[in-house]
Symmetry: C2
Subunit: 349 residues, 2 copies
DNA sequence: GAAAACAATGACAACGCTGTCATATTATCG
DNA sequence: CGATAATATGACAGCGTTGTCATTGTTTTC
């Protein structure tokens, strides 16, 4: 029922150490021997026991995902992406939702790393952008990859998968400008997210390029939630001179803005255009469907996981396939404009 | 840095076996000794190493969650609920998304159980309701708890957490009837889900009680997705004599129905009432907000996990706190009617 | 108060693998 | 062809726990 390395060794007529070499892709095994072992593995459906590997080896076979994100779609996409990368390499995923506002994160991280040996961690915003968290991780000497918003003053770029929020926000804003909008409201995300600033910056740059000054009244603080979108839009639309378009910093906020517009009997996109950011599934489930920027979270997560693993493996240079395993791992993503039905020509006054 | 059972033993002046006894709550340790050990554990921040426990012990310290559900909110809630239960008891969660339509599930399950020792599995629909999957699990002799839709002919009730879809659907339908609706369309979920039948049955019973015959034209096949909701609603609303209310089998379908109604310029709830099922976050993010039945997935998952763990522990009767650990674990849930804005009085003809 | 019963503790061998190091085999070279 | 250098393989000791079983206290019992 339960087949161990001994069974394989016996069947292949070699020592367990040789079997170990084969399954770990270590050098110094003659092709013929390797083949014998591989056949035995196949025949017996052998799968190395994870607990034993973790215990015995210096490497670990689990990667952890740290997140604090109320957006279920985001989280699921991250998980699936990582899982994809893990499965291909025989690793497992340990998920760890946490609260970025609580001070306990550091203790939790320490426990996680010490208690259940992890090969590495994937961090999502806002953890990935919190210095104290990164410091803790450095102190614990654990590998990690941060999924972060691209900014100029980023340290340790090699630990990061970057998302260029600024460029995407620029495109989105330009799209609105091209539709003839001159007054474009902007709903900011939470201040603990660097993406908030990146997206606003893209908005600013596009306006600047078009020679339109940023009106501070049109830029509202908020957070990445539906309710925040509702509140923000209400406020913008109650202005004496309301904007003809609203850039909501994510899809959830955009859905909220849509909701507020409906409340106020405003036609979308006839009287008001709304754009979101992320292209989460429900940007297709609103009425009308949202114009947004597609952020390939699944793919991003996959790359992050691949990067963590290549780092983790880097240490134990026992690999045969030497050097740069990192080749082919995309390190920067620019969300792409997706035009749907929530944006249209600016109304003629 | 990394503190092991040896460190604790040394500090407490006992053997490692005694420490093991204390941390596992085994009997036969004098209170004074127990206290000494506990103090040492505290002082050193000792946390037993999971890999070692898994390897050495007969029990496992990981619980697996098997799901195949496109609904991100559902999955996240399940995960969080299980994680809650796990954390309290020092277990870990291994998530395993799978494809219920593929034949590979059985092999995957086998690998999962054999490869990474699990204490037990939590199954969600449709796996929890698929006989062949259950058979495989029985054969593998692994503990599991199934989250299922309550039905009369359910075997092995003690393995289940039941959700009474019929009762909730009955309430929802009755709500519509009380608003004066006589022609109520029904959009079915996927046929692989038992809940689909339960919900339809509740709908039927309510109509029957009200003395209204079920019109087969008003009951449409579908699946638990937004698009299916759109299609179904379009069809119903194109009928010669369209219904005045639509019961969508879940919130996503209801959102789809809402979308279709908007497309056809139908006022909700003025001309048409729509109700959903589940009370997922986005039932609050549609316009108008959905009347639905609240299904406490987080709580359900928590109970499922608690049940798995109590089962797993049952085997190793080493526990001090004897017998029925299962006390206090809720085994049946009836989603509760939540009236919001998508349902209103039937239009006068 | 000695025998019997029981409770508390510890020594030591697993668990299934990887790491280290010694050994056996094969290739290389003068 | 013999010596030397690689290369391939295996023996064996951990990794940090738990499980088994033997040993040492501590009660109870008559």
């Amino acid at each position: 029922m339960k087949v161990t390395i001994n069974d394989v060794a016996a069947r292949a007529g070699v020592s367990i150490k040789t079997v170990s070499r084969v399954i770990n892709n270590e050098p110094s095994v003659r092709p013929a021997t390797r083949k014998k072992v591989q056949e035995a593995v196949e025949a017996l459906h052998y799968q190395p026991n994870l607990a034993a590997r973790n215990l015995a080896g210096s490497r670990a076979y689990t990667i952890g995902l740290i997140y604090d994100n109320p957006n279920a779609y985001y989280v699921i996409n991250m998980q699936n992406g990582i899982l994809d990368a893990c499965k291909a390499r025989g690793y497992e995923l340990l998920i760890h939702p946490s609260n970025s506002k609580s001070e306990s994160v550091h203790q939790e991280l320490e426990d996680l790393v010490l208690h259940s040996k992890v090969a590495g961690l994937v961090l999502t915003p806002p953890f990935s952008e919190t210095k104290s968290v990164i410091d803790t991780l450095k102190r614990l000497n654990v590998d990690y990859v941060r999924i972060v918003s691209k900014t100029a003053d980023l340290e340790d770029v090699e630990d990061c998968i970057q998302v260029d929020d600024t460029a995407a926000a620029f495109d989105l804003t330009q799209h609105l400008l091209q539709l003839g909008h001159k007054r474009i409201g902007f709903l900011c995300g939470g201040e603990e997210h660097v993406s908030t600033y990146g997206r606003r910056e893209g908005y600013r740059q596009a306006l600047e390029q078009a020679g339109i000054p940023v009106e501070e009244d049109l830029v509202l603080k908020g957070e990445y939630s539906f309710d925040s979108g509702v509140q923000g839009a209400k406020k913008l639309l109650s202005l004496d001179k309301p904007p003809t378009a609203i850039f909501a910093s994510n899809d959830e906020m955009a859905a909220g803005a849509l909701f507020a517009a409906r409340l106020m009997n405003i036609d979308i996109p006839g009287q008001l255009s709304i754009v979101g950011f992320e292209d989460s599934p429900f940007s297709r489930q609103t009425w009308p469907k949202l114009t947004t920027a597609h952020q390939p979270n699944n793919e991003i997560a996959k790359c992050a996981a691949a990067l963590v693993l290549s780092k983790a493996r880097g240490h134990t240079a026992t690999e045969s396939g030497s050097a740069s395993k990192e080749a082919g791992i995309k390190r920067e993503f620019i969300p792409e404009l997706v035009v749907r039905d929530s944006s249209g020509p600016a109304p003629t006054e």
